[in-house]
């Protein structure tokens, strides 16, 4: 019912988990070693720098790891929801034949495998990169952290997320399945969105544009979050290169880009899939390709822009606080101010790449066969 092939489709989650595992492995390992030399640091400046290093690695671990894991949880739950929605008939029949909800739901545990795969790759990559990472971290003259590999921590890093994700998948599937059989069989679209105000003057294509965005809040969130991450991480990476190190800058950049594009692609694939019937029906009626893809996709443009703006503000605030609080007593910390150069690069790149992705999904909508509306059922 839930096959390994379905799990493979979760490669997006594997990639995000891989990033999370990479970053967390490096910093957890470093933090353990850092904690071990606590007593040996001598001198006022050295102590302050040591404290700063300690809190930076905690913050990086928590923020990067937390963001990435949150992202993958949202991805997982959305995937399961779509999986159940798109197979609601089969699942309804299974239930009608007497399968229990838990009997079906427990098969979803296999989705944990995608997490395990990602984690193993990320941890291995981190282990390979570890010597270079320590070299970079130890560039300061005040103290040097000896490197040790904490394989026990690595194992926990792989196993705990796998178990948690598997359990989450089962529980969420169980919850989604707890509907009456008839509801599953009828494929009730269920969520009709009523935004009290019915704008009578609005023409059909505009209404559709609004409705596409409104009716699937999770997809709206994905697009928003994608833009937010893009904006936040690209701009932060510029400043990080000055404030911390080039490695840190690149790490943040790569993580940001991966989350941003994964999310955007995931969301837009779901949008296209979810509107296949509408698009086919519009085509049958004689709407042109451009009109169809515009009314399905264009509503997300302001959402993305809003995400970008908020991301810009967020990274500025975060860095201001970090520089102000964490590094406040250390002489060598450079000044931080809003980086307009970063914004001037990030914004055009964002707009161009976002439009390219939209163009791609627009062409996917064009390729949807007209018959898709008549074939199922």
């Amino acid at each position: 019912m839930v096959t390994v092939k379905d799990t493979l489709k979760l490669f997006g989650i594997s990639i995000v988990i891989c990033c999370a595992a990479f970053v967390c492995t490096l910093f957890i390992n470093y933090r353990i070693d850092l904690a071990a030399i606590a007593g040996t640091v001598q001198g006022d400046q050295a102590q302050k720098l040591y404290d700063a290093q300690l809190s930076t690695s905690t913050v990086v671990c928590a923020v990067a790891g937390g963001c990435l894991i949150l992202t993958s949880v949202v991805m997982l739950l959305t995937y399961i929801r779509n999986f159940i929605d798109s197979r609601s008939k089969e699942l309804g029949i299974m239930k009608a034949l007497g399968w229990s909800d838990m009997g079906i739901a427990k098969h979803f545990g296999i989705f944990g495998m995608s997490v395990l795969a990602g984690a193993i790759i990320g941890i291995s990559a981190a282990a390979a990169y570890m010597p270079k990472f320590y070299e970079l971290q130890n560039k300061t003259d005040y103290f040097s952290v000896p490197r040790e590999m904490h394989y026990g921590a690595f194992a926990l890093l792989a196993l705990i997320p796998t178990a948690v994700f598997a359990a989450l998948a089962v529980l969420f599937a169980y919850r989604s399945l707890r509907k009456p059989v008839m509801k599953l069989l009828r494929e009730d679209p269920g969520s009709k969105v009523r935004n009290g105000k019915n704008d009578e003057a609005l023409c059909f294509t505009k209404e559709l544009r609004k409705d596409t965005v409104r009716s699937k809040r999770s997809l709206m969130f994905f697009v928003w979050f994608s833009a937010f991450c893009f904006s936040c991480n690209t701009q932060m990476s510029f400043s990080m290169t000055n404030l911390a190190s080039e490695t840190m800058g690149y790490m943040i950049l790569v993580i940001g880009l991966i989350i941003a594009y994964m999310m955007l692609i995931l969301a837009l694939s779901a949008v296209v899939r979810g509107n296949a019937k509408t698009a086919a029906m519009m085509r049958i009626f004689g709407y042109e390709d451009g009109e169809i893809s515009r009314s399905i996709l264009n509503g997300y443009r302001p959402v993305a822009l809003f995400g970008f703006i908020l991301g810009t503000g967020y990274q500025f605030g975060l860095l201001k606080i970090m520089v102000g609080v964490v590094f406040k007593d250390i002489d060598t910390t450079p000044e931080y101010d809003f980086d307009f150069k970063a914004l001037c690069i990030a914004l055009p790149v964002f707009i161009v790449s976002y439009e390219l992705v939209m163009l791609f999904f627009g062409s996917r909508i064009k390729k949807l066969p007209v018959k898709s509306v008549m074939l199922d059922n």
Partner: protein, 230 residues
């Protein structure tokens, strides 16, 4: 006038080839009420899709007053459908998140027509403008889809088993609305059904069997939806 000449279409190839249409020719006049009658699997839907330009035939021609639509590009076909054709399917395919009014405007906006409310009234749903499809019965939903198709002022209305999912009483009602609007507006009707009795409502009956036309006959007198058997 629609002239269909020697249409063939197969699915698959080699040993698994399924010849669905085996050389179909027929003509349907302007304003005519034509019914295509045949058992399930005889190729009716495929034929309808080819005639309406939704699907390409393997060979043959479909001419609308001399214009062969099998030679049009996709873009031209879209324009052709936009200006000429309305569709009604067995499943209603209404947009679930939109009110009756907005669903009908999907058709009306295409023709730039402003009289969608009158059309909704004409199918007896004047008091359901603000309802959502899930709040309507099957018959009401099908009437919305009739209004949606007619709001774009089609010259030809294609219907693929429009009453297939409805009970007798509701089915009659839907057919009655279609019949009345046909008489009033004068569009051409091409309707698929496997119900022998519904054929009594038509001017022309085209009987299909395994991908060929086996019989064409004309009714001297058309019956209304309430006069036919079921």
């Amino acid at each position: 006038m629609i002239t269909v000449e020697n249409i063939t279409k197969s699915y698959g190839s080699g040993a698994g080839e399924n010849r669905v249409l085996k050389g179909i020719s027929t003509t349907i006049g302007d304003g005519e009420y034509a019914v295509i009658l045949g058992a399930s699997g005889s190729g009716k839907s495929t034929f309808l899709n080819v005639v309406s330009g939704l699907e390409k035939a393997d060979s043959g021609s479909v001419k609308y007053d001399g214009t062969d639509i099998t030679e049009l590009s996709d873009k031209q076909l879209t324009k052709f459908r936009r200006e000429n054709i309305g569709f009604i399917f067995q499943q209603y395919y209404l947009l679930p998140n939109m009110t009756v009014e907005k669903n009908v405007r999907m058709g009306a906006d295409l023709a730039g027509s402003k009289d969608w409310k009158e059309i909704i009234n004409a199918v007896g749903l004047g008091d359901k403008l603000r309802s959502y499809p899930s709040e309507l019965s099957g018959g009401e939903q099908q009437r919305v889809s009739v209004a949606r198709a007619l709001a774009k002022k089609p010259k030809i209305l294609f219907l693929d088993e429009p009453t297939g999912a409805l009970d007798e009483a509701t089915g009659r009602q839907v057919l009655d609305y279609i019949g009345k609007l046909h008489d009033q507006l004068g569009f051409t009707v091409i309707m698929i059904t496997h119900n022998q009795n519904i054929a009594d409502m038509a001017d022309t009956v085209i009987r299909m069997n395994s991908g060929t036309v086996t019989e064409v006959y004309h009714n001297a007198e058309r019956k209304t939806a309430y006069e036919i058997g079921w």
